[in-house]
Symmetry: C2
Subunit: 282 residues, 2 copies
């Protein structure tokens, strides 16, 4: 698998790159960004995945996420994928919350989405193999986080892959797409009407069905206009309590859904991941 | 003078705002951003001015500058103005380095620029009065910094206003517009052919003519493609040495001209300003 360099900039003593490649899963060109912190030659570093929210690409967090200082301090590679397949031949929808920019980290089964909308397999299988091949990554030490739709992605991918991630966190995640309008539209459109197929893409349902996380950090702004109708943090809180998952869920007064919120708590999340990733043998 | 709120987001415990107002100096609507860190009610806080480079508005540093964590830690208000007059009736040029987005912090004397291109008076007089009126600012404690064209602005404004700024720094500044193509085009266009008028807008010339700074911090990337032809850091280094200005000028290996460079050293600049600003009586 070959990678094309879109850009490479020195930052915080490391290298912030943007890369492009032909994806077998999504059947088109995909872009993602990778920050590699300063490190000794030959070292293999832990990897933190960041999954972005609706309408985003890799660029939003890369420009506004304020993660590099913390990743440089803790020696962590930060990978930010795109949020959907891209390209002129990829089916789309005029809405911001469906189609391009809104892949919801599922493998679609319905027409016209099924051929390209394979973001689950892309994020779970294809991209990790590419990262392992091209970067100084220790794939035995991975953490995962994300924002909003990407928080949903981080939680569900971690829940479906026990043992793969030493650390899991989220910023303002959609905790139960089965119980909110964004999720009903996306899961119904990509997966069809049978809600049994949705449960593998719903963090609360996965926990109810027995999936577990080692522990969990979530930050959620109380001034976030999507909290009550779409994000529904209390459902995750209740599911974790019921399942005995030690979850640190912090409701942050005054914060909204923007990157001003994410960047305010990013360094704490990176530190939280670093503490767990650096406990595993390097 | 009234201010219109464009946006206000909680960030790093403080408030990141974007504001709009009718400017008497530029004769149109101007936007700028202000970060107010968390503080005790009634407190007056030091102010750090950040002047942006060619093609930028307040938005670039506000989104990519990574200044808020440091400003919150040190209790500093961060103000980011625009780089030129704006509006449909404002003269412009197709080039990126002249006209809108390229005001060079001068008061233009030449047609068709003179009516609106009054960024010197806007930054030195009008905007500080507005900031003093609307924010919890201690105007006895001001620092100034900037990037590229904005580094030129920061240096020249500080040199022309002795005693106003307790702290001065710059990221990859244009140190002598009289000695580079960007500067010749801009100063010639805005001020006319008489180079005597240019000297008040040239940091190296101002120092040669007797202006002084308390001290100075400059970071400059060695992988910056504009260094040799446009920025010419060694000219500033020589002028400071000759004049006895204690200047810390750091040539940073591997860094380019982008916000990846700026954000890498922003926290160090904010700390450097804070050390000086917080020495003055609060």
């Amino acid at each position: 698998m070959t990678l094309e360099q879109v850009s490479l900039n020195q930052a915080h003593g490391g290298q912030q790159g943007v890369w492009r490649h032909q994806s077998a899963e999504t059947g088109g060109t995909m872009s993602f960004s990778v920050f590699v912190p300063p490190h000794e030659e030959g070292a293999r570093l832990p990897v933190l995945w960041y999954l972005s929210g609706l309408t985003c690409t890799h660029a939003n967090v890369t420009e506004k996420g304020e993660f590099r200082a913390a990743c440089a301090r803790h020696g962590i590679i930060f990978v930010a994928p795109d949020t959907s397949p891209r390209g002129e031949d990829v089916a789309d929808d005029d809405a911001y919350d469906f189609g391009k920019g809104a892949g919801f980290y599922v493998d679609a089964t319905q027409a016209p989405w099924a051929p390209h909308y394979r973001m689950r397999s892309y994020i779970e299988q294809e991209l990790p193999a590419l990262v392992a091949q091209h970067f100084p990554a220790d794939m035995a030490r991975q953490g995962i986080t994300g924002h909003s739709m990407g928080g949903h992605g981080a939680l569900t991918i971690a829940l479906r892959n026990p043992g793969r991630f030493a650390s899991v966190s989220a910023f303002a995640p959609i905790v139960s797409p089965m119980q909110c309008p964004w999720g009903h539209k996306a899961l119904g459109g990509y997966l069809g009407d049978d809600q049994a197929a949705w449960r593998g893409y719903d963090a609360v349902a996965l926990i109810e069905d027995g999936a577990r996380l080692p522990d969990l950090l979530v930050d959620q702004g109380l001034a976030d206009g999507f909290l009550a109708e779409q994000l529904k943090t209390p459902l995750l809180e209740a599911a974790c309590r019921e399942a005995g998952i030690p979850a640190t869920i912090r409701m942050q007064a005054g914060y909204d859904h923007s990157y001003y919120f994410i960047s305010s708590f990013m360094a704490q999340h990176v530190k939280w991941h670093a503490q767990r990733l650096n406990q595993r043998a390097g």
